[in-house]
Symmetry: C3
Subunit: 264 residues, 3 copies
Amino acid sequence: MELYKRMKFNNKNIQIGKNVKIGKNVKIGDNTIIYDNVIIEDNTIICNDCVIGEPLADYYTNEKYQNPILKIGSNSLIRSHNIIYAGCELGDFLQTGHYVTIREFTKCGHHCSFGTHSDIQGHCTIGNYCRFHSYVNIGQKSIIGSFVFIYPFVVLTNDPTPPSDDLIGSFIDDYTQIAAGSVILPGTKIGKFCLVGANSTVGGSFIDDTFIYGSPAKAVGKLSKMPFFNSKNKKHYPWPYNFERGMPWQGIGYDNWIKSNKNI
Amino acid sequence: MELYKRMKFNNKNIQIGKNVKIGKNVKIGDNTIIYDNVIIEDNTIICNDCVIGEPLADYYTNEKYQNPILKIGSNSLIRSHNIIYAGCELGDFLQTGHYVTIREFTKCGHHCSFGTHSDIQGHCTIGNYCRFHSYVNIGQKSIIGSFVFIYPFVVLTNDPTPPSDDLIGSFIDDYTQIAAGSVILPGTKIGKFCLVGANSTVGGSFIDDTFIYGSPAKAVGKLSKMPFFNSKNKKHYPWPYNFERGMPWQGIGYDNWIKSNKNI
Amino acid sequence: MELYKRMKFNNKNIQIGKNVKIGKNVKIGDNTIIYDNVIIEDNTIICNDCVIGEPLADYYTNEKYQNPILKIGSNSLIRSHNIIYAGCELGDFLQTGHYVTIREFTKCGHHCSFGTHSDIQGHCTIGNYCRFHSYVNIGQKSIIGSFVFIYPFVVLTNDPTPPSDDLIGSFIDDYTQIAAGSVILPGTKIGKFCLVGANSTVGGSFIDDTFIYGSPAKAVGKLSKMPFFNSKNKKHYPWPYNFERGMPWQGIGYDNWIKSNKNI
């Protein structure tokens, strides 16, 4: 698939630092600044008013500061007013909304999307095909699997005794969904194929296929047994049997995709 | 009333697309970009660093993409760093804070205001005289009446079985207030003159004049009977008898305004 | 300590109003706009795409509008895409994240930091050494002591009967911590050395050293007696005995600092 064949940006007021590698067919929006040591791979678009390769705090105080390498994968679409720090490694087919910040040493896989006003605090690891909606705040040391969708105003916290330097990230396993307004407490472990209900306050550990809800949140039951029916009057979970837009099993079905892909 | 007589913007680094219609006495801030097919009506101010008529996703892939018409009404004030998508129809006397996104096919009436960091997700309908404070997130398919005030960190969600494409918007009727931090679940229906208490998780249907509170939220009672007294030691609800700043009944009283206006 | 010796900003597309006083060794990022009557003290850095001294609403309607003085203290670091209104008085060593708004007549002491996407609504008072993380929303009329840390998606509200003009701010005393997702109701008073647990809804008054939690929040007990142990297996509260990074007692211990500083 060849994305983004056409752009009408004007190449006005763009500034590009040293040792910046820009792939084929990359487009850069007006007023965007790209700092040193940035790699942007083929077919990627950076829209207007972005800061790419934002230097770390040390930049302002250390004469010998060198910007760590930032790599943005191919076929990505970075919308306007994003700030992406140096030191990140972001996979192919990344999509972002507006006013997104991605702090230093964030590592994410391919086909992720980060919604408008999201703030990825850095020093965290995110798998493939994750979708974060608007206003998602991922604390440092978080580890997130693949196919994890997180909805607005969710925060993954990391300090069990604030303030401290004893940061403990959470671990959210593959296919899990975290509904809007939930707070994930430091060190929380959530298994695969879980759903966290809206506005929950979640601590502790939860096994696969759990519906988690409340403040403080409890394991309400096996998610696949809960009466969550979709518009086809079918039990919706596990959701990959019922949702495929943009997923790698689109058109072939989840079971067939699983058979042909031991590793994603 | 003639607003905005004086501006000291410098007309620097402004870019304007094709087929843009700009009314009389419109001012445009520095570094602002206006894409194709935008209509800005008389006396409106667009501040610095805005993107107006932001193209839809199709723009990046479709050679024949045409930007849908964006109309911004007269006497509006769009503050800096806003992103307003193509395809919206926004009424007169709109006011926005900073870093606001208004996605495609948002339709709002006149005298609305959207606070700083708000994210209107598009494909939604908003009446007149609505005020959204900072960090308000309106999901697609939401329908909101007139005189609805929404406070910080409120989200109107729309996916009952995430992730799915079965989006169901909420309906919030006239004069209803939604206090800070509340999550409105998909398909919620809230009548006129209701108040949703802070940090609630609201699903289901609620009749007019209900005080709604809790997680999950319940109908606590008739709002007009609840002991919510204002600084004049008067029952505050229904609030139009006790608040008039910027409302069309300012100076004449709500009853007189109602008598003279069958339709707002 | 001499901060920020080196910068590589390009002085491109910067605009500066009348009567702007810029101290020694100040650096200003590209595309930044500084309005009239701004004072920036020595060694301060303003990054790219900021609006400094943003005029009040009256600017757009009043021919004789004069921008109130904005003062930004020395040795501060204002990151990119900030909007700081006229009329604020901000102490030395301020640090901000990105997309921060600080509205008119905010007064803050020295060594404060305001995280990415924070929105300080103005007409409020903040002490010294306060740290607000991402997405902190401080309502007008709030009064916040020193060493107060506030975590993501916390809002300090101010309207007990929305909508009204009877705004009542909250008072948060020194050393208190407010965890993520909490809503502080109008007129709340929280003493010194308290901790508000995550996702709480807090109203009323709380004495010093209280652990406050729930929706509605209750005083769970004396914070210093609660079993909150840190990684050294030590009771963490009162926290100044266990956290010193960036605090004035760093290297000397809290007790020694208290002895030598009757006033902070």
